[in-house]
Each structure stands twice: as structure tokens, then as C-alpha cells.
């Protein structure tokens, strides 16, 4: 590790808020990755004798339901675990898609000629000038509720901010002495882009992506809650919450627990993003 990176790591590790964020997000990721190990049941195992049982309920056979059961007698904890799998992978895929397109277009806007820059940035402006939920609703109304549309919606939500961030950093870095020197020494455009510019673009990019992950988890959950995202029986935190809603007065836990899972994951991403921002660049403000 070189000097500056170890300074960043130390600043990050000493920040309790960042560490809380890292732990929350890592825990959510681990639960999602090892779902079959962590969950006692599958997400659709029903048990008519154990319907709407409260948290910590013990079945006659001695089986403990840590977070209770839902109207179909399914273990809420198991469903949250498998819901983590769905929600986190959909959000991550949307982020990769939107981030990838955004980084590509941002680099293009920063490097290529003026008209490409103007075109891409105007498109980003229009995108950002449009409420994301409204865009999602329009697209889903037209294309129906399917995974591909959902991913497209999430990618649309995040490409513009990535493109803007990357372009901004490229413009800043392009005229820096080290880059000018590399260019003067005859470095080609690819060497310049990957060796000189990308490392400098990386810091703000990581900060933006982390914050976007939280936003995408929220957007997916919201759409699934509205019935426009992941469809049952496939579990997502949003559709679990919506299914538990009619039973709220008799079984508060069915709708409450998935909401806590959303809170933990989004809080994790947001705190981690804040911590990374403080560690990577104290001057950077979002």
C-alpha cells in the first residue's frame, strides 16, 4: 500500500459511522449469499398450523420462529433472508448496469469532442429533471412487471449521476500536471484513461455508487410494495410488507420486520457512502 491509500484506510477504519455502515451492509450481503444456511425454511414453506404466530413463538415440536410467521404459516425470518437475496441482487445488478453505462458515457463526455459531451450531458439533465418514481411508473405501465423492466428502471435511475460524476472528474484531472506529463511522454489515449485518469476518478465514483446502492434498494422495495416490482411468490422486502399490511392490526410483525430489513440495508449503504466520502475526500460534498 502506498502512502495516500493507507491514510484513506486508516481514516475510514477510525470512523465509527463508516464501520457501522460497513457491518450492516456486509451482514445483509452475507445473509443474502448464504441464504440456505441462514434460513431454517425455504421462502415458500407453508404450515397451516402455524399461521400468524408472533415472534419467538415455539411450535409444539419445539421449533422456534424467531420473527413469527405470516398468514400462510411461512417463517418470516426465512422469507426476509431469501428476500435479501432478491432485493440485494436486483439492486446490485441495476447498479452495475446503470453504473457501467454511466461510467462509459461519462468518460466519453469527458474525452470525446464537444458535441458528444453536450449530447450526453443534456440527456443526463433531462433524466435528472424527471422524477425517478414517475419514470418507473410510466415504463412499468407500458412494459408490464417483469425483471428486465425493473432492471432497466433501476439502471435509468442511476446512470446519469454516474455519468455526471465521471465527466466532472475527468475534466478536473485532464489538465493536471501528472496527466499532462504522461501525455507529453507519449502515453496513448487508453493508457491515459486507465492508468492516469481512472484512479483519480475512482474516489468520487465509489462514493456515488455506494449512495446509489441505497437509493436502488429503496426504489426496488417501493416498486415491489406498490405491486409494480418483484411479484409473489418470489419474496422481496417490499412485496412481503405489502402482503402483511392487511394483517397489521392482528399481526404487526408480518409488515414490520421486512421494513426493518430495508432500513438496515439502506442505512448501511448510506453510512458507508458517507464514511467513504469523508475518508476519500473530505472536501467532496454530495
Amino acid at each position: 500500500m502506498t502512502g495516500p491509500s493507507s491514510r484513506v484506510v486508516r481514516a475510514f477504519a477510525r470512523n465509527p459511522v463508516a464501520m457501522i455502515g460497513l457491518v450492516l451492509l456486509a451482514a445483509t450481503g452475507a445473509v443474502a449469499a448464504f441464504a440456505p444456511v441462514v434460513a431454517p425454511d425455504s421462502y415458500d414453506d407453508q404450515n397451516v398450523r402455524a399461521r400468524l404466530k408472533p415472534p419467538l413463538w415455539r411450535s409444539p415440536a419445539g421449533r422456534m420462529y424467531a420473527l413469527g410467521t405470516d398468514p400462510l404459516g411461512r417463517d418470516v425470518w426465512s422469507r426476509i433472508v431469501y428476500g435479501a437475496r432478491v432485493t440485494m441482487s436486483v439492486a446490485a445488478a441495476g447498479l452495475l448496469l446503470g453504473g457501467g453505462v454511466g461510467v462509459g458515457l461519462g468518460l466519453l463526455a469527458g474525452f470525446a469532442g464537444r458535441w458528444a459531451d453536450a449530447l450526453i450531458m443534456r440527456a443526463a439533465d433531462i433524466q435528472l429533471a424527471f422524477p425517478s418514481l414517475l419514470l418507473a411508473i410510466g415504463l412499468i405501465a407500458a412494459l408490464g412487471t417483469n425483471l428486465l423492466t425493473l432492471l432497466g428502471v433501476l439502471a435509468l435511475r442511476s446512470w446519469a449521476i454516474h455519468a455526471r460524476t465521471v465527466r466532472g472528474s475527468v475534466l478536473l484531472v485532464r489538465e493536471q500536471e501528472s496527466v499532462l506529463a504522461a501525455r507529453a511522454l507519449g502515453a496513448g489515449p487508453f493508457r491515459l484513461a486507465f492508468k492516469e485518469i481512472l484512479p483519480n476518478v475512482l474516489a468520487p465514483l465509489i462514493v456515488v455508487s455506494t449512495a446509489q446502492l441505497g437509493a436502488l434498494i429503496l426504489l426496488e422495495s417501493t416498486l415491489s410494495f406498490l405491486g409494480l416490482g418483484i411479484q409473489p411468490p418470489r419474496p422481496s422486502w417490499g412485496n412481503m410488507l405489502s402482503a402483511g399490511r392487511p394483517y397489521m392490526t392482528v399481526a404487526w410483525w408480518v409488515a414490520t420486520m421486512p421494513g426493518l430489513a430495508i432500513l438496515a440495508a439502506v442505512l448501511g449503504a448510506n453510512l458507508l457512502g458517507d464514511g467513504l466520502r469523508d475518508a476519500l475526500d473530505p472536501r467532496l460534498k454530495l
Partner: protein
């Protein structure tokens, strides 16, 4: 003055330039609404009731020029929008624009109350946290800000119903009409923006309070609160207002979720019902109306900002 001068003052030039920026945005919005209907297949199958006969479909195609080139169709569509013709709701048989505007009035009540909360609660909390920086008040504020920015709106709404309407019976759980019924949805809708407002106000105040003239004000013996109100607040307020202004448009669109949770009969429940019934003209109308409002609010905020802070106009 040269030929290019044309004696337009820079202030006016800024205003005109900013208004001109509205054009690509509006083109983008209408293009989106236009394409969305075509993405879903044959427009007559989505714009007419399912039981329409083939002759009806043919008549519709001719009346709306669906047999013409696509660009001409788009221009005609925009032309109809400009004349206030947003199509007819498939299920209610009424002009879509009128349905949207009726419901919009109800949404604006909710959004207006939420914005009031943001200004009257979020901003003062941010000031307090900045002045009492590093104290327990500041820490609690920062924790609430982090939670407020991460919580799912619909979940917060349900939890508020559970506690304040079901358990304590202080307010009705949902519905529209009485003053008590607006409290929970307004707070739910405002929560995220309360957090944003408190955070922005706090950081804005801290930045301003580190400036030289604040130190001068303190040095000449002004009390802490007088310094805050007479000198710091005024300078911190402009950027706060700008960001909040932009958020107001998001808040209108975000009311879809809050309205669903509280059965608030605004434009949000309207559009969701419209999607479930595949009432495309109505969905289209909601999208265009809300997006136009959003763009106009952003424009107004920018112009207001430039008016308050003249440096913007010359950039």
C-alpha cells in the same frame, strides 16, 4: 455595442436562457409519454377499451393519424397537448386532464402541508444542531437524519398508523377530509425531506459560521444567538432554499407511495389505479402533468436563486 450585443441586459439574458432550457426537458418528457404507449404494442389496443370493434379501431387510427409517419404522430400529439387535449380516460370516459387536475388539488394539500413541516421543523432543527455542534442535541439530530434518509416511506407510514391510529387511537388511520387525517400522511411524506433539510441547514450554517465576518460579529461582543440570526442564517439560507426547491418536485411525485398507504385520494392513487386498470391515456396524462410541474418548479427555483444571488447570472 457590437452586433451581438443587442442591448440585452445579462440578467434578462440569463432568464431567457434558463427558460429556453425548459424546451429540451419538455420535449424529453412528451417524447417519453409518447413512446411509452407505443412500447406497449398496438396503440389502439391500449388507448381503446378491450371490446372495441375493428371498425372502431380503424376510425380511431384515422382520427388520431396513427397511419401517419411516427414523427408526424408525435408532433400532432404535442399539438393536442398544447390545446389541452390529454386524451380520454378509458374507464371514466372523462377528459384525462380534468381528472388529473381534480386529484392534483388534493395532492397539493398533502404536499403543501409536508413542505410546511420541512420548513418549520427541519430547518430550525438544523440550526439548533449547528449552534450546539458536538453536543447530544447534534448527535441525536445526525442520527435522526441518517434514519430519515434511509427509511422506506411506506414502512414509516404503516408504523405511524400502527402506533398513533391503532394502538393510541389519537388520529384516524387513513382517509381524507378532516384536519386530523392529514397529520400522519403529511409527516410520512415530509420525513425524508425533513432529514435533508436538517442536514443541509446544519452543514450550511457550520460553513457560514466559520467565516471571518461571523468571527468579527462574535468579537464585537454579539451574543451567540444574535450572531446566528442576524448574520449567519441569512447567508446560509440561499443554498438551503435552492436544494429544497428542487426537492419539492420530487415530493409531489413521491406522494404516490404515501397516498397509497393512507388511502389519500390524490393524483398518486389515481395513477396507480390507472396502471392496474391499464388506463393508458390517464397514466400518460399524469406523467406529463407532473413532469411539467416538476420542470417549472425547478425553473422557478433557479430564477429565484439568480434573483437573490446575482453572481449566478454572470456565470
Amino acid at each position: 455595442m457590437g452586433v451581438s450585443g443587442l442591448a440585452i441586459p445579462p440578467g434578462l439574458r440569463y432568464v431567457l436562457g434558463r427558460i429556453a432550457q425548459l424546451v429540451p426537458t419538455l420535449v424529453g418528457v412528451t417524447l417519453f409519454a409518447f413512446i411509452v404507449i407505443r412500447l406497449s404494442g398496438d396503440p389502439t389496443s391500449v388507448l381503446l377499451p378491450a371490446d372495441a370493434s375493428e371498425t372502431e379501431r380503424e376510425a380511431f387510427r384515422r382520427a388520431y393519424g396513427l397511419d401517419r409517419p411516427i414523427l408526424e404522430q408525435y408532433v400532432r400529439y404535442v399539438g393536442r397537448l398544447l390545446h389541452g387535449d390529454f386524451g380520454v380516460s378509458l374507464f371514466q370516459g372523462e377528459p384525462a386532464l380534468r381528472l388529473v387536475l381534480d386529484r392534483l388539488a388534493i395532492t397539493v394539500q398533502l404536499a403543501g402541508t409536508a413542505i410546511g413541516l420541512v420548513m418549520l421543523v427541519g430547518v430550525p432543527i438544523g440550526i439548533l444542531a449547528a449552534v450546539r455542534r458536538g453536543t447530544i442535541i447534534d448527535h441525536i439530530t445526525l442520527s435522526l437524519v441518517a434514519l430519515g434518509q434511509s427509511v422506506a416511506t411506506f414502512w414509516l407510514g404503516l408504523m405511524l398508523i400502527l402506533v398513533f391510529a391503532v394502538a393510541w387511537r389519537l388520529v384516524p388511520p387513513s382517509g381524507y377530509g378532516t384536519a386530523a387525517q392529514i397529520i400522519l400522511p403529511a409527516f410520512t411524506l415530509a420525513a425524508y425531506y425533513l432529514a435533508v433539510a436538517a442536514r443541509l441547514t446544519r452543514s450550511g450554517m457550520l460553513e457560514v459560521m466559520a467565516q471571518d465576518y461571523i468571527r468579527t460579529a462574535r468579537a464585537k461582543g454579539l451574543s451567540e444567538w444574535l450572531t446566528v440570526f442576524r448574520h449567519a442564517l441569512r447567508n446560509a439560507f440561499i443554498p438551503i432554499l435552492t436544494v429544497l426547491g428542487i426537492q419539492i418536485g420530487e415530493l409531489l411525485a413521491g406522494s404516490v407511495v404515501t397516498e397509497t398507504v393512507f388511502a389519500w385520494p390524490g393524483v398518486g392513487t389515481l395513477v396507480l389505479d390507472a396502471i392496474l386498470r391499464r388506463d393508458y391515456p390517464l397514466v400518460q396524462a399524469v406523467i406529463v402533468v407532473l413532469a411539467v410541474i416538476y420542470a417549472v418548479i425547478n425553473l422557478a427555483v433557479d430564477l429565484l436563486y439568480a434573483w437573490v444571488d446575482p453572481r449566478v447570472r454572470y456565470q
